[in-house]
């Protein structure tokens, strides 16, 4: 029976980063993917950050399939009939090494798969890993859903994504710490439009892109956001809300997206476009509190399977790639000692503690629960901002002193000053 140095389950950003890191050092690596090709089952918004990606693929922008380098990022506070915008455009984002790109996972992950093969890694698609194989309390391989599907290795890296059934088995967990208020349900459409139309509508220079994150009416006041990203010749538009809130509001994710698309502030951006794909995805928002154990005897977990997402900052694929890379490095170190015990592999956790991954997840560990219990932030505040801005810009013969008084009075009518002070305090405590 052929034996590998490492088996990686899942050809996403975490799994492929891990595999490439190991193959680069000459380890015999196999990646097992359930889709037809890497990316066939992968969904993200999707914005890919340059710095973490370049840690694995230096100067990737010269050859990887990317949509647009992002030069403008905005936040919108949306109501049914108004929007208040806050954004930033910077020419520095238009230069190498860039800050971020819009990408399609199905294209980018396929490219990463080719990179792995070029380094001598083996990629097996159309294969579901059903279980781990254990011997004397140690993971020694995986069982695949096909004939002669047992594969053996010194170590298994589980990077199966948010639906982490294998993680649970590999780490012998009774249950993953995943519940309705730790998970968001996101849906997205890819809407085709002419390149030129996109550049005109978003006032972009040729080839460059913009992102918009939308709070308020985009989720009908539920905890979550809407997003609009420009691709080369399409727009990615989507909404994501906490599952607990969708269940309570009895709203279907598709209806939520439709309502967002039909908001009069959004509609002109996608007018005349044709929907080429409709995707749905779960986002692990539980953060640090929801993280499973990250290592065991002969096994490591990386990326979404380990709940590594910073929902507030739209970061997930960077955590996936960097955790994958560190998992790969951990295996390289273990291989040099010939020891894949839980104790040796525990250095994975220690290394992660020193990176932004665990630091950021710890920092925001109270956020999804806090927002779930205080949804008015998403329902009320966009309205307050809209009212205030309307009063500010509306010229109707009122003196400016009275305009300012009215802005304050209107705001405190909807949210008493003490509650607002408490919101600010709590918001600060959760975020800073």
């Amino acid at each position: 029976m052929e034996k590998f140095d490492a088996i990686v389950v899942g050809a996403g950003p975490a799994g492929l980063s891990a595999a490439i890191t190991m193959a680069d050092k000459g380890l015999k690596v196999i990646v097992i993917e359930r889709g037809d090709y890497p990316g066939a089952k992968n969904v993200m918004g999707g914005i890919l950050y340059s710095e973490p990606t370049a840690q694995i693929f230096p100067e990737f922008w010269k050859e990887a399939p990317l949509e647009r380098p992002i030069t403008e990022e905005s936040y919108w506070f949306l109501t049914g009939d108004s929007v208040t915008k806050f954004g930033h455009r910077n020419q520095r984002f238009a230069e190498e090494p860039y800050n971020a790109f819009s990408v399609f996972r199905a294209h980018f992950d396929k490219w990463m798969g080719e990179k792995l093969k070029a380094k001598g890694g083996l990629l097996i698609c159309e294969t579901v890993v059903e279980d781990v194989i254990e011997k004397d309390g140690k993971v020694i391989g995986v069982k695949c859903g096909r004939a002669n599907g047992d594969i053996y290795a010194d170590v298994v890296i589980v990077a199966e994504g948010v639906n982490s059934m294998l993680t649970q088995k590999a780490l012998k967990m009774q249950k993953m710490n995943m519940k309705e208020d730790y998970l968001a349900v996101a849906v997205k459409e890819v809407i085709y439009l002419d390149e030129e139309k996109i550049e005109d509508r978003f006032a972009l220079e040729k080839g460059f892109g913009a992102t918009i994150e939308v709070i308020g009416d985009s989720t009908k006041g539920m905890v979550g956001t809407g997003f609009i990203y420009t691709n080369k010749e399409s727009i990615s538009i989507g909404t994501g809300a906490l599952m607990s809130q969708l269940i309570k509001s009895k709203m279907s994710p598709n209806d939520l997206l439709e309502s967002f698309k039909n908001n009069p502030m959004v509609k002109p951006l996608i007018r005349g476009g044709e929907t080429k794909e409709y995707a749905g995805h779960m986002i692990p928002e539980g953060g640090y509190n929801a993280m499973p154990k990250l290592y065991g005897n002969g096994v490591l977990v990386a990326g979404d399977a380990a709940q590594m997402v910073n929902g507030l900052h739209r970061e997930g694929s960077n955590m996936a790639m960097i955790s994958g890379k560190i998992a790969g490095e951990t295996v390289i170190a273990a291989a040099s000692k010939g020891n894949f015990s839980e104790e040796t592999l525990s250095s994975y956790q220690k290394k992660l503690e020193d990176t932004f991954i665990i630091k950021d997840l710890k920092k925001y560990k109270k956020s999804s629960e806090y927002f779930d219990h205080n949804p008015e932030l998403f329902a009320l505040y966009p309205e307050l901002v809209s009212d205030a801005m309307y009063t500010f810009f509306n010229v109707d013969g009122t003196s400016k002193k009275d305009v300012q008084k009215k802005m304050m009075k209107d705001a405190f009518k909807k949210r008493p000053v003490m509650s607002m002070a408490k919101d600010v305090y709590n918001f600060w405590r959760v975020l800073v």
């Binding site: 359930r34 889709g35 037809d36 090709y37 990316g39 066939a40 089952k41 992968n42 969904v43 993200m44 999707g46 399609f104 996972r105 199905a106 294209h107 992950d109 698609c125 159309e126 294969t127 579901v128 695949c144 859903g145 096909r146 948010v162 639906n163 059934m165 995943m178 519940k179 309705e180 998970l183 349900v185 849906v187 459409e189 890819v190 399409s234 990615s236 599952m243 969708l246 269940i247 009895k250 709203m251 279907s252 994710p253 598709n254 439709e258 698309k261 044709e274 929907t275 080429k276 794909e277 409709y278 995707a279 749905g280 995805h281 779960m282």
Partner: protein, 93 residues
Amino acid sequence: MSKLDDKLFANRYKSYKETHLKVTDPEKCLSCKDKPCTYVCPAGVYAWNELENRILTAYEGCVECGTCRYACTYKVIDWQNPKGGYGIQYKFG
């Protein structure tokens, strides 16, 4: 294009002959008041059938997000990965 069926039609699927989604204890659905699976699934896979008095699953349109498993009130939805190479194959993702 706004109807869910039209959107799912734009997707690329390779349907397997057997479902990867099962309601393991349909009795529970009888006492489930809100039936969140019928509205929280992005692809509208789950529908209550009045005649048969049970949930029917149009698994062929599943976008494989996994939401149903966690949204089910009684946690009686068994969600497995479709057989390798089958199910949705995202063109963009």
